[in-house]
């Protein structure tokens, strides 16, 4: 028990250190936020507008991170695209990246950026195809439960929580790695981000919403720590 507690204390200190470092690296007075990726192709990139603010609030409540209240929306070709450490992409349908966008996204991801993609049903085929443009030389790998992203802050020993039903399959997490770092985390058959949305949007019970927010926080913490 003592060992466990000490480990936790170490973890807390480490996290504190990381967060302070991250915050220190940001311009004075800036607040951490998540950038929602605007994409073309017809899919609803704007889906669930309440999800990111809720997650940011949850993170602020559970960690020493000065989070903003709102998301920012950014396109790959925007000038300030590289200003955000974490990108979020979701939707139900088509996504297309032009060659230039794919190249820019690759540059972003291979230079410290992180992309979290959540399939809200119908995005899978398009996302995988477009990411092959971004990383033609990499494989999208199934992420085992032992990976740090499931343990970075809250413990998810059995992998991703199941928030929504889609095709009656267990939730799955995939990822692209660059130089050993997970740079893209893609969740399917769970719709974590729907669980971040306001309760009345999808009628998720509190327990599911909490699981989704915890997993969301794990993702963000992992993204900031690595």
């Amino acid at each position: 028990m003592i060992k466990c507690s000490m480990k936790k204390i170490y973890c807390v200190f480490f996290l504190l250190f990381v967060f302070i470092t991250v915050l220190a690296a940001q311009p004075k007075g800036s607040q951490f936020t998540i950038a929602r990726l605007k994409y073309t192709g017809g899919g609803d990139w704007y889906n669930d507008p309440s999800c990111i603010p809720n997650l940011l609030a949850f993170i602020k409540q559970h960690a020493v991170i000065n989070t903003a209240q709102d998301e920012v929306q950014v396109s790959i070709m925007d000038e300030d695209f590289f200003s955000y450490p974490v990108l979020f992409i979701t939707g139900h349908g088509r996504i297309t990246f032009t060659d230039k966008e794919a190249e820019r996204l690759r540059t972003y991801l291979t230079h410290g950026g992180f992309l979290y993609a959540d399939d809200d049903y119908g995005m899978d085929e398009h996302f995988r195809r477009e990411m092959r443009k971004v990383f033609p030389d990499k494989d999208l790998l199934a992420i085992p439960f032992s990976h740090e992203i499931f343990h970075s802050h809250f413990e998810f020993a059995n992998g991703l929580p199941k928030i929504h039903e889609h095709d009656g399959k267990p939730p799955a997490g995939f990822g692209y790695f660059h130089n050993g770092r997970l740079v893209v985390f893609y969740t399917q058959e769970t719709n974590i981000s729907d669980g971040w949305a306001d309760a009345e949007v999808h009628g998720n019970p509190p327990v599911k919403r909490e699981l989704a927010l915890k997993m969301g926080m794990n993702i963000i913490v992992y993204a900031l720590m690595n």
């Binding site: 017809g42 609803d44 139900h92 349908g93 060659d99 230039k100 794919a102 190249e103 809200d120 049903y121 119908g122 443009k133 033609p136 030389d137 990499k138 494989d139 999208l140 790998l141 199934a142 992420i143 085992p144 439960f145 032992s146 990976h147 059995n158 992998g159 991703l160 929580p161 199941k162 928030i163 929504h164 039903e165 889609h166 399959k169 267990p170 939730p171 799955a172 692209y176 790695f177 660059h178 130089n179 050993g180 769970t190 719709n191 729907d194 949007v201 999808h202 009628g203 998720n204 019970p205 599911k208």
Partner: protein
């Protein structure tokens, strides 16, 4: 007075002389004694040396001691002389001398001494009588007048001493006489201790004397000794046993000291003589202790510098690689030089025992490292190291896809997959292309346009570039040919980037008419081929029937029967092969249509259904029967053959039926497809016309535009021919939309269109383009009208198919009614209290039968519901509920719980009735809709067409300007626009009616038609207000929104929030070491292999192996 003085002086003089002589005797005596002693000692020493043969050292000591003693003795004598005659010259006093003299003569006694004392008072002291003093002096002087004082001297000791000296001399002389040479030699040795056997000093000359030699070298020693009598001498070493040398030359001895290892001293000895000690200082040659080589490949290779293993000097590296060589030596060196076989010399920087050098390799070579120590010694036998330049291979560039000459598709893009390889990275890829206008086959190499392919990770060894080469902006005209290739450069900045070129391919931009002709021809081939097979099949059936009949009469399988049966099998096999070939053709055709978007998605779907149907023609059972028949033939078994023939016959009938059905479907589909094609072609002509107008406005190449305008005219004629053919085909097929096609044909052949096209060509020829845009828009609208009319025809045709669906729904409803009736009967029996156990079993069986029947109906309804939007999903749900209740009823009956069973059965009846109600509602809906429901795809296509049309009307309306006061021409145009808007309204009303099933998603399309009516009214009144424009924009916006809404409908059905259930999930496998970074894996493996010094061939093998692994992973879907 003078006498006294004279006497006195004389006396004094005599006394002084006496005193002097006395001292001389004393001195001589002593001197002789010393000499005698020295001689004696000397003699003794000589004798001792003669007898004892002292060592030179002892001799020297003795000689020194003797010399020292003699010197002391003589010095003492000299001191004595000085003391006697100088310092104590007045001693003894004359008074004492007078007393000594007086003692020798009795008469005088001490009178002389007294007289001398008195005489001293004679001149100063008056107390004494002078006379007395004179008298005393005279008496004493008189008494001694005749005596010689010398006689009083004692000479005996002196003479004794002299005797001793003489004796010593004599003895020495005697010894010298008797001992002769030995005595003389002994004397000589004292004076010269080092003398040879002959009494001479022994001299040695030892060569090389003190010397510094290299380890393991031999040292030749040459010794010359001054004694010619010497026959042997010994050579002594500090670290080994002495060796005895024998004279081999004139007084010279030779010896070679073998392989000296450590520093030592040596000297030669002859008799008791010894040469001085000489030192041999052994030194090592400069030696390379450690060698380290770091190879820094040229930067372009992106290979990180690596080091060879310690002491490995053989270098294999890329040309231009910089080599940093460092070494440690066994001793300080003054220089280190790298000497290359090619003649180059590189001086290394030296510091004590280490050195370093840098050089760049350019060619194969060898080198040695020459070390020179501070003594000037060079390193011994330096190792020759090799330098091998690994060649940087030329890159390889290949256009993997399409990898052949192709026709450009509808999207005007060529999906290129370019693979470029280079052993150290590809630095640049350029796409080179040129457009060959229609009919021009001559490639002009100077006209190639080079386009750098950007946005890729250049520098990689393997670069796979996938890009959609968009040629839509290349001003291509139909029938133009694009010739292209890709050139790649490696990143060899040392020798200069090497260039490689892929194979050259052509992409032809076919006219749509050509494409459709091609597809139609293919389709005709498939149908004709299937019809041939069908004919063969009928003949085959007859053959089988005849043979089966004969076999009934025959008692055995004779040779003729066997031949006939084998022929049947062979024909069957041929047919099968032919069908397979046709299937491949069909697949290829469908793929092409699908990939190039040549027909609608709905048509493609139907083709895919035909493909599925096609698969059913050749069933596994048929294969089995053929095998059985072959087996019967082999065994010559009459019964088996007969049985096989009978079964074969039945199977062939089924085959024939399927084939016939497929052919019919294909023929029907061909019409549908041609209609599709015609519609697309009309649409394409409109787009091309718009494109020409745009280009004209941009003042593009008028000649090309004229050509394109002529092509449009030509293709319009081709479209007319296509529609004529289509009309012919339709006339031979029932339930075809001939009327709609005829309307489209009329529009296409209308004077306004023909004149418009003619005018456009003339305008382009004359260059008078003032009305070009306006005329072009009119032509474009006409074309779009043709497209819409054809689309309407297509939908009408689909409506016929909807009727079929309606019929199926009706059939299913009858079946449900029947099932409901049966269920009710069973329910009554179940609920009858008189029903016994045996009857319950029967009831249960009947219930199961009803359940099975319901399953079939449910499947049918489900299939229908997937194909048609008009089918209410509630039907399926109600049927599912009924099935569930029936299952429960069966279970209850098995448990003999009749009450529960009856209850379930009642619920089942209720659910069936609900399903019936919903079916009827759907059928009603279909009937009201006219088209009996519209599919998603149909709606999308029609709405898309209408949106384009509305956009055209909007633009033209906007071009008219706001307000009134229109010219006659403008009024005419306004009337035309009003008519077009009216046509659009009618289409919208019809669409709204047909798409009632989609009303949930679309809202009320009828509102849109009302808006259109208002616009139409404005146009009729020749009034265009701001509200008119706004309304038109709203209509267009609504049309576009409707498409978006319907597109999202599919998702929304599944998007409805459903809380996630908990799943038992297992973790995926642990991550592979390479974390999915395929290229890294390959690169690392290659790098490692390179470091490990694998040969080029092995490297290539390793590369191929990893590439194969990568491909395998890709196939596996990773």
């Amino acid at each position: 007075m003078s006498n006294v003085t004279n006497t006195y002086n004389e006396l004094i003089s005599r006394l002084k002389e006496y005193r002097t002589r006395q001292k001389a005797l004393f001195f001589s005596h002593n001197l002789c004694r010393v000499l005698a002693i020295l001689l004696a000692v000397f003699l003794l020493l000589l004798l001792a040396e003669t007898i004892l043969d002292f060592t030179p050292q002892l001799l020297i000591v003795i000689a020194i001691l003797f010399t020292f003693a003699a010197a002391l003795a003589l010095l003492w004598q000299l001191g004595s002389f000085f003391l006697l005659f100088v310092i104590h010259s007045q001693k003894p006093s004359l008074n004492d001398i007078a007393l000594q003299v007086g003692s020798f003569y009795k008469k005088t006694d001490d009178r002389l001494a007294n007289a001398l004392q008195l005489i001293q008072r004679y001149y100063g002291d008056t107390r004494y009588s002078r006379s007395l003093i004179e008298e005393s002096l005279n008496i004493s002087a008189g008494a001694l007048q005749d005596h010689d004082f010398k006689n009083f001297l004692d000479r005996k000791p002196f003479f004794r001493s002299v005797k001793y000296v003489l004796a010593a001399l004599i003895i020495t002389g005697i010894f010298s006489l008797f001992l002769g040479t030995q005595f003389n030699t002994a004397l000589l040795r004292y004076t010269h201790p080092y003398l040879d056997s002959r009494g001479r000093q022994a001299h040695f000359i030892v060569l090389p004397g003190h010397v510094t030699a290299l380890r393991n070298t031999d040292i030749p020693v040459k010794i010359w000794v001054s004694d010619s009598a010497a026959q042997n001498l010994s050579l002594h070493f500090s670290d080994r046993e002495p060796v005895v040398l024998t004279k081999t030359g004139a007084d010279t001895f030779y010896y070679t000291i073998p392989e000296v290892k450590e520093t030592f001293s040596y000297h030669a000895e002859y008799r008791r003589f010894s040469s001085p000690d000489y030192k041999v200082t052994v030194e090592e040659r400069p030696l390379l202790r450690t060698l380290k080589i770091q190879i820094t490949p040229p930067a372009y290779s992106k290979i990180t510098p690596w080091s060879l293993d310690d002491n490995v000097g053989d270098i294999s590296a890329l040309k231009g690689a910089q080599i940093t060589l460092t070494g440690q030596t066994n001793k300080p060196v003054q220089s280190a030089m790298l000497l290359f076989a090619g003649g180059a010399k590189i001086t290394a920087r030296v510091e004590e025992r280490s050195f370093s050098a840098k050089f760049t390799i350019w060619q194969n070579d060898t080198y040695i490292i020459d070390l020179v120590d501070e003594s000037g010694n060079h390193s011994d036998k330096p190792i020759t190291y090799t330098i091998r330049v690994i060649p940087d291979q030329y890159p390889l560039v290949d256009i993997v896809q399409p990898g052949k000459d192709i026709d450009l598709g509808d999207d005007m893009t060529i999906p290129l997959l370019i693979e470029a390889r280079d052993d150290y990275g590809v630095s640049l890829l350029r796409l080179a292309y040129q457009v060959l206008p229609q009919g021009d086959e001559q490639i002009d190499s100077s006209r190639f346009v080079l386009q750098k392919l950007q946005g890729f990770d250049y520098g990689k060894d393997i670069l796979r570039v996938g890009l959609d080469w968009d040629l839509s902006t290349s001003d291509l005209m139909p029938t133009d040919v694009v010739v292209y290739y890709v050139e790649g450069y490696d990143n060899d900045t040392i020798s200069g980037p090497k260039r490689a070129v892929s194979k050259m391919y052509r992409a032809r931009f076919p006219s749509l008419y050509e494409i459709y002709q091609d597809i139609t021809a293919n389709q005709d081939n498939v149908i004709e081929g299937m019809e041939d097979v069908f004919q063969q099949e009928q003949e085959l059936q007859k053959q089988i029937a005849d043979l089966a009949q004969e076999m009934k009469r025959a008692t055995e399988v004779n040779w003729e029967k066997q031949q006939e049966a084998e022929e049947i099998l062979k024909n069957r096999q041929d047919m099968q092969e032919k069908l397979q070939d046709l299937a491949a053709d069909l697949n290829e055709m469908v793929d092409k249509m699908q990939n190039e978007n040549l027909v609608s998605a709905e048509t493609i779907k139907k083709f895919q259904e035909v493909q599925e149907l096609y698969k059913e023609i050749m069933t596994p059972e048929m294969e089995q029967l053929m095998r059985e028949m072959a087996q019967a033939l082999e065994n010559m078994d009459r019964n088996l053959l007969q049985k096989a023939l009978e079964e074969f016959k039945l199977s062939e009938e089924e085959f024939n039926k399927n084939l016939d059905k497929t052919i019919s479907l294909l023929k029907r589909l061909k019409i549908e497809q041609q209609l599709d094609q015609a519609q697309k072609m009309a649409e394409n002509l409109a787009e091309r016309q718009e494109n020409v107008a745009d280009k004209t406005a941009e003042n593009a190449d008028m000649e090309r535009l004229l050509k394109e305008q002529q092509n449009i005219d030509h293709d319009k004629q081709a479209l007319g021919e296509m529609l004529q053919d289509l009309q012919k085909e339709m006339s031979a097929t029932p339930a075809m939309p001939e009327q709609e096609v005829a309307e489209a044909m009329n529009t296409l052949e209308s004077d306004s269109l023909n004149t418009g096209l003619q005018n456009l060509e003339e305008m382009l020829q004359s260059g008078n383009l003032s009305k070009f845009d306006k005329t072009s828009k009119q032509v474009q609208n006409r074309m779009q009208q043709v497209s819409q009319q054809l689309l309407k025809a297509k939908n009408s045709m689909s409506g016929a198919q909807q009727q079929k669906a309606f019929a199926e729904l009706k059939k299913n409803s009858r079946q449900i009614l029947e099932l409901s009736k049966q269920q009710e009967e069973v329910m009554q029996k179940t609920g009858d209290p008189m029903t016994g156990d045996e009857q319950v079993t029967d009831i249960a069986e009947k219930q199961q039968e009803i359940r099975t029947g319901l399953g079939r109906v449910t499947d049918n309804v489900f299939r229908l519901s997937k194909e048609n939007f008009a089918i209410d999903p509630g039907i399926y749900k109600a049927l599912g509920l009924a099935s569930m209740q029936m299952d429960d009823a069966v279970s209850a009956l098995e448990e003999r719980n009749n009450t529960a069973a009856a209850n379930n059965q009642g619920n089942a009846v209720t659910a069936l009735n609900q399903a019936m109600h919903r079916i009827q509602a759907s059928m009603q809906n279909m009937m009201q809709g006219g088209g009996m429901g519209m599919s998603f795809q149909q709606f999308m296509e029609q709405m898309q067409q209408m949106a384009k049309g509305q956009q055209g009307i909007n633009e033209q309306t906007l071009g008219m300007g706001l307000g009134k006061g229109l010219s006659m021409a403008q009024q005419a145009q306004m009337a035309r626009l009003s008519a077009e808007q009216g046509q659009m309204r009618k289409s919208m009303e019809q669409l709204a009616n047909e798409a009632k099933g989609l009303s949930e998603v679309l809202g009320d399309l009828g509102n849109m038609a009302q808006e259109m009516q208002q616009v139409e009214n404005d146009l009729n009144r020749n009034i265009i207000t701001r509200e008119t424009i706004t309304r038109q924009n709203r209509i267009l916006s609504r049309m576009l929104d409707a498409q978006k809404s319907i597109r999202e409908r599919e998702y929304s059905r599944k998007r409805q929030a459903e809380r996630g259930k908990d799943y038992f999930a297992t973790s995926p496998d642990e991550l592979d070491e390479n974390l999915g970074e395929r290229e890294n894996r390959l690169q690392q493996a290659l790098l490692q292999a390179k470091k490990e010094g694998y040969t080029r061939d092995y490297l290539e093998l390793i590369k191929q192996y990893f590439e194969a692994l990568t491909r395998q992973n890709e196939k596996n879907g990773n």
